[in-house]
Structure formats: C-alpha cells, structure tokens
Amino acid sequence: MIRSAILAVGGTGQLVLHFYSQLYQIGAIEDPFHAIVLDSDGLLPSLETFASFWRGVATAHPSPPDVPKIDYFQIGKGLTGKVLQAVAGAELPSGPHPAEAFFDTDSLAQGVREGLYARPALSAVIQPDWERLPLQSLSGFQRALVVGSLIGGTGGGLIAPLLSQLADRVKRAGTTEQPRLRAVFFGEYFQIRGNAPVRDAALRYPSNKLMVARCLADLAPDELDHFTFIEPSVPMERDREKETATVHLEWPDSNGPIWTGISALEEMRTNTAWPNADNFVEKERDDIGVRSRGADITRLKNRMGVAESIAKYSVLEKLPKEPWNTQFFGRGLPSLVAAAHSLAKRNPTLGLSGLTPIARLIQAQYAQHWLNIWKIFPALEVQSTNPASIRESAWGTLRSESASLTKSQDDLLSGTGALILHAALRGGRL
C-alpha cells in the first residue's frame, strides 16, 4: 500500500479530487489517501459529502487509517472586507495610498472572501497560516502530491510556497523512508462557457502562468521529485455552475485535461520506476498514460448496481427475517448486521434492542448515505445486480472495540450503514 497525502489547490485541485475520490470509492484506485484542500471558495459539496461519509466509515472500519480523509484548509480565514483593507490594515483615507502602487484597482476592490481569484500576486497579502496546515509531519506517507493550476489565483499564488512548506515537512519526516514530493500542474486548460468572470482572462491567465512557472523553475525545492504539466492544444469548456453544484457531474472526456490530470495524479502516486533528476526541467514527466475511462465507467456501473440493489431490495432489513440469508447473501453481510446487533446487546446504554429493528435502522442509514453519494456520481442508467454479487463481495468486519460505536446509537447505526455502502461500492477492496 502506498500512503499518499494529496494537496488539492484551488478550484482545479478540487475538481480533480472530486473525480479521483469517486474512482477510489468504486475501487478503481486501490489505496486510501489523506487529501487537504487549499482554497478560499469553500469545499465542493461533493468533497464535503465524501469527507463526512468517510468519517462515518472510519468509526466502524476495522482499520480507520485505511479510510481516506479530506481536510479543508481555508485560505484567508479570518479576513473580512476588501483586499484594500487587508493590505492597509484599516479603512483608507481618501486620496492616494502606497498599496495602489502594487495592486491594480480591481484587485484592491475585490472582497477577500473571493480569495485570490485569478490574481496570484494577492497571495502576498492573503497568506495562509502554514502552521495550521494539517499533517505537520509526513511520517508514514510515501507520497506528497500537489495538484492545482498555475493560471488561477489560489494555485498560482500558493503552489510555490506550498511546495516549500511540504519540502520542510518531507525533511522532517525522518530518514528511513522520506515521502516523494510530486506535482500535477495545469496550464491554460479551459475556457469558461458564457460570461467569463475574469474580464481580462486572455491576458491575465498566460501572464499568471509565466510568472508562476518562472518562480517554480527558480524556487521549487530540491525535494520536488517529479511533476507533469497539463495544457491541451484545445482548451476544454467549463461550466462553473455545474462544477460548483457537483450534482451528477459527468465524468470528463478521456482525452480532456481533467481526465489526464486524474491519470497523472494516479501515475505520480504509483510510479516507482522513474529515475531521479536534479534539474527542474528534467523532473517533468510527459510519458503519462491515460487511464481507461471505459473500464472505469463499467466498474462504476457494476458497483453502483450492487449499492443500488441493497437499497432497492432492502437487503439489510431482510437479513434477520431470512433463514436462508447465508445462501442468498453469503456470510459477510449478515455477519456485519449481526455484529452491530451483538454490540448493541452488550451495551444496553445505547438504547437499541432487537435484531429486526436494528437491521431496519441500519437499512435507513444506508439508504441515506447512498442517496448522498449517488448524487455525486454521474447520472447513469444502473441495472440492479443479482444476489450473487452480494455473496461475492468482501464486507469486512465491524470494529467492535471502537469507543464511539459503543457509546453512541447514531455512530453505531450510521457507521455500520456507511461501512456497508463503502464495501458495496469498493467491491471488496476495503
């Protein structure tokens, strides 16, 4: 297993992580990860859902470190008002001010809540408190992966300082097995459908890219092992509204930059054969294979079919009523529900009694989790699978020594429901 920390910077980083998380959840990506999103815009709803779902899974999972985690590191936290006020520290008197010599009028008039939108230079003002960045130590990780765009404000402004921060943490990680620091950078890869929010995008984006790329070439730490740069000849169209809602967002085209980015992120994570390079330019990898979107879609349909069948046919609710439950559903799934009942029986303070009512409550929790996760996946026509698919899946066990499971009714029911859905979607790759 390769343990990775993924640092998703800005809107592009979040978008890649949105799809990457889905691929992990359906078992197309094998190993768990600890993702940290750095943005000022807020976490995407889909990533919030995954973060909360995985927290639930971890409460019941036999090995919580094997469940992914998403943390949100807000940029510009605590700042209010306009950039102008952040620069000067107070309301400005009328008349000229030295800050206007460094930033254009538009940037100074921008609200700090809008973050660094397309203005990387603002990172000089809206600097995060790096001490608050999670994972102070990267011990136990084999990879630290950064993904973001060089042309946007957040990515452009923060990728270079972030790499420095990570390099320090890599050094601190110990000498036995230092994590490899790798990155996926996006160049000018999109055009906005409809009215572009950045008026001077045609000039601003290329100049942002030039500035950040030059900074990286000169200042990227030696610890940066490899990186890839993604800039297609034909930019993709982006629909900001759909991307922000993240409800049934279609998977990107296999020849598009986002899918290439997802493939690159996985390649950066798993590749162990690339030779070391000293020079920044030689560290760039352009031999990234694009993963098969067709195979991933087939897997997605299969796993959604299993998850949907459990909800549609109320399988969990049926288990304690069916004397042939192991013949129909195998031993794994009935054992999980039985383990939850056994835990409730041993802890009367939970206020749960009866196998049938507990199974019904777990079924309800499962259905709620599935509804939330289903909204994230693309809207596909999913066929129910037959009970054999449930027998053939691995379901794992419940962590009966978990303190929260023995103390909270909600944690026990919701955690068990989440663990079952996690296993159904992962297809045995727990």
């Binding site: 399988v315 559903f329 009935p334 129910s384």
Partner: protein
C-alpha cells in the same frame, strides 16, 4: 380482474347452483349400501389433498425453494414472505382447479359428470354413482377434519362446497402460521449466531 380470474369466478358461480335441480333431471336419489362408504372415502381423500396442498404450498415449497439451483440468484425469492405468498397462491390455484372444482362441476353439470369425479374414483375407491346418493336419512359417524369428524349437514359431503373450502383454508392458515413462526425463529437464531 383478468380473464383467468373471471373464468374461475364463473366456474365457482356455477357450483353455487343447488344440486337438487341436477339430480331431479337425472335419476332419483338412491341410498345403496355403498353410498356411506363413498361419502366417507370422498371426505377422507378430499382432506388428504387439502392437507398435502396446504403443507406443500405454505410450508414445504417456500422453505425448501432456496435449495433449488439458481433460485438464490433471483431477487423475487429473497423474501420469505414473498416466497410464501407466491407458493401459496400457486398451490391454491392448482388445488382449486384440480381437486376442488372438478367434483363440484360434476355435481352441477352433466358435461363434467364422469370427468369431474374421475380423479376421486381412480384414487379413492369412490363410485361414479356417488353423485346420485341421498344420505339425509343415514346417520354419519365420519366427517371433515379427521378425528374431529366435522359434519356440515345431513347431505352427502360433496354437496357442501363451502365446507370443503373451509377445510382447505383452515389447513392453509395452520401451516402458514407454522411457516411464519419457524422462519422467524430460525432466521433470528442463524443471524444471531453469525456474530459469534
């Protein structure tokens, strides 16, 4: 109500006709020495059939169905109550069409006179002339529900269609109750044991 159900309802409606009308058109009702034994044999055989079909449909078939290869791969059989409902419905339909309806049609319609009683004649040593028997003057020491010897009236038992149905429905209810009770108990025990 589909066409099949309508057909069954019409057949059932035909069986509501009083038997006397048909008997009057045929021969005069007789009381031969064989009539009481015919009647007793009919009662016993009908009851055996009722028990067998009720056990099969509401207990054995839904319990053992998952042992049939391929059944465990079909969602529609994964619910024990759904299995019970389907099997009960199928066995009741067969019972109604093969056991209950033919003798009752033979009783009320000349067309079915021989055919309707042939199964009972062949398996239960019941003469075809049983339909002409009049037992109103003969005391009975037999009846439905085996040892309970339930006697719904003075006539031959073949005339009491409602009593025949009552017998079947009663056995169906008893064995369904056993099925539901045993299923719940076994399911609970087996699932609970998995936690160990």
């Amino acid at each position: 109500v589909n066409k099949k159900s309508l057909f069954f309802l019409l057949l059932l409606g035909a069986s509501f006709q009083p038997s006397y009308a048909f008997q009057d058109q045929q021969t005069k009702p007789t009381v031969s020495e064989s009539c009481p034994s015919d009647d007793e044999n009919f009662a016993k055989l009908f009851e055996y059939f009722a028990v067998v079909f009720a056990i099969a449909g509401s207990l054995v078939m839904p319990s053992a169905m998952p042992l049939i290869p391929g059944i465990v791969n079909k969602w529609k059989w994964t619910d024990p109550m759904a299995r019970w409902w389907r099997c009960t419905w199928i066995s009741s339909a067969v019972f109604f069409l093969v056991i209950f309806l033919p003798p009752n049609l033979a009783r009320v319609t000349p067309f079915f006179r021989t055919l309707g009683l042939s199964l009972f004649h062949w398996l239960g040593n019941i003469r075809l002339e049983y339909l002409d028997c009049d037992l109103r003057a003969v005391p009975k020491d037999y009846g439905f529900f085996f040892f309970a010897r339930w006697n719904p009236g003075p006539d031959t038992l073949i005339n009491y269609w409602w009593a025949q149905l009552t017998v079947y429905v009663t056995y169906l209810a008893i064995f369904s109750g056993i099925y539901i009770g045993v299923t719940r108990f076994l399911a609970f025990r087996r699932t609970e044991r998995l936690a160990a």
